[in-house]
């Protein structure tokens, strides 16, 4: 991961090689559940789902520079696909491990379908169309009673199972999600350092110049939407299996906004940033339950303070840090 230039918050870690840093973090996370109890394990797993969503949206927004406000749609596609084919709704019970690639593929397909009409759009226009797309998917789920049960949702979804092992407790899901996060982070990191990643950087920097370098703009935009969406597919299927029931309201605009927020707070384009962003954005409201009615107020204030004092996020990517410096 982008460790060559650590921001000031992480400076004490500079002496430790990145692989060791990641290793220690993983061992710590893996050892955590017995010490924190079911409730916090549950909260951490929930954060983990947002980490996956954040990593996926970060591919679109952070790497490729395309503002997508309808990301929740792909999460919904992943979740509903599993819910419909692994619940009593139609009496179909396809196993979780077999559905995993299906959900990823369908979410990716959704990304491609959204990508095609918006290929020639930039900036604000792109944001509005993607926002509409996200809402359309939710409204369809809400109104397609005969298939999705509408607002009554889909209940008694099969729990996740791999081989003979059934995931039942919060701890089981915690580990499943942890593995999902590790894989997502790994894939995203590889992508960022690949030829595709370089094409995205060029495109984000200057689309016209990128085209003159021989970069097929339409293909790489579509690729960003498709790949980004597939991460949400994994998030969706795990979410559905873990909850056991899903409703259209689980896929509201707020999810897209939250995921975008956590990327901005964490540091756009940076994978460690996205992870920390999810911990802060999803975790802090839980911590703030103590102050009950002032919870959202305190949370909002925190976000504002954060944006004033650290506009480039907690752990900005080295490149993004430059971009922001230039703008301010």
């Amino acid at each position: 991961m982008e460790s060559q230039a650590l921001p000031s918050t992480l400076r004490p870690l500079r002496g430790i090689p990145p692989w060791l840093r990641i290793g220690i973090l993983l061992v710590f996370l893996a050892a955590l559940p017995p010490f924190i109890g079911n409730y916090w394990t549950h909260v951490l797993a929930y954060i983990g789902i947002y980490v996956m969503l954040g990593i996926g949206l970060n591919v679109v927004v952070g790497f490729a520079g395309l503002l997508d406000l309808g990301y929740v749609a792909f999460y919904a596609i992943g979740a509903y696909t599993y819910a419909l084919l692994a619940s009593p709704k139609f009496g179909i019970h396809i196993p979780f491990w077999a559905m995993l690639p299906v959900c990823v593929a369908l979410a990716a397909l959704g990304g491609t379908l959204l990508g095609i009409p918006v290929l020639r759009m930039r900036g604000d226009y792109l944001a509005i169309v993607t926002l509409g797309f996200g809402e359309i998917i939710r409204i369809v789920m809400n109104n397609l009673d005969s298939i999705t049960n509408g607002p009554k949702g889909i209940l008694r979804i099969d729990p996740a199972a791999i081989g003979g092992f059934k995931f039942t407790t919060p701890t089981h899901y915690y580990y499943l999600i942890l593995v999902g996060c590790i894989l997502s982070a790994f894939v995203a990191d590889r992508l960022n350092n690949s030829r595709i990643g370089r094409a995205w950087i060029a495109m984000r920097e200057d689309q016209d110049a990128a085209a003159l370098m021989g970069i097929h703009i339409l293909r790489y935009k579509l690729l960003a939407f498709t790949i980004g969406a597939s991460f949400a597919g994994i998030g969706g299927i795990i979410f559905a299996a873990r909850q056991g029931s899903i409703f259209p309201d689980d896929f509201s605009l707020m999810v897209s906004i939250n995921v975008l927020c956590l990327i901005i707070i964490g540091g756009m384009g940076s994978i460690p940033g996205v992870i920390l962003g999810a911990v802060v954005l999803i975790g802090i409201p839980e911590v703030l339950r103590a102050v009950a009615i002032y919870r959202m107020l305190a949370f909002g204030a925190l976000l504002i303070i954060m944006m004033i004092f650290r506009p480039s996020g907690f752990i900005p990517s080295a490149r993004r840090r430059l971009e922001l410096k230039e703008e301010t």
Partner: protein, 240 residues
Amino acid sequence: MELLKVEDIHTYYGSIHALQGISLRVMEGEIVTLIGSNGAGKTTTLNTISGILKPRKGAVYFQGERIDPLRPHQIVAKGVCQSPEGRKIFTRLTVQENLEMGAFIRTDSEGIRQDLDRVYQLFPRLRERRRQVAGTLSGGEQQMLAIGRALMSRPKLLLLDEPSMGLAPVLVETIFDIISDINRQGNPILLVEQNALMAFLIAHRGYVIQSGRIVLEDSVENLQENEMVRKLYLGEEIET
């Protein structure tokens, strides 16, 4: 041998008829310059050749093959690479990353390394600053980078859009010397310029563009003698 043939192209911006039938050709080994004032259609011509704009009428041939229906990245792959107006370097990438981006379509890492070396030989300043973020370079260095980046695709035809723009006269001379060197190393060049004086020093042939039309085409020697060219583009007082 004929490398590039532009045949009667008409390009529009919406309803604005920007190019009204441009024809020109570039032969193997040549530097051809296209001179004209602001808004005459110089950049539009280059962008039509690069495939960024599509002509509504007419055709562009490269090595005998029609390229105007192709997309920009396909045209780069054919061997036509442009150093755009205003340089358009990737300001947040380092000098070396910019150059590597120029070689995006290539996969021969050995050849890329050689060309990187070649660019650094042409522009020693870029080698000194290879780890520097490109946005912090001076205007002249950025222009060098834009030309170097275009060379990294190992083009068969190099299109240069106003390399003199915004540069001090001394720097313009340096850059034009290098353009001439690049040509002597075997690269044909189509050079778009407002600075006719400089362009004529290194080019072999030239075209004069006015309001989207080619009004004059000749060898540089003859163009320099032409009264209209001297008056309009070389800024000379002509005694009558």
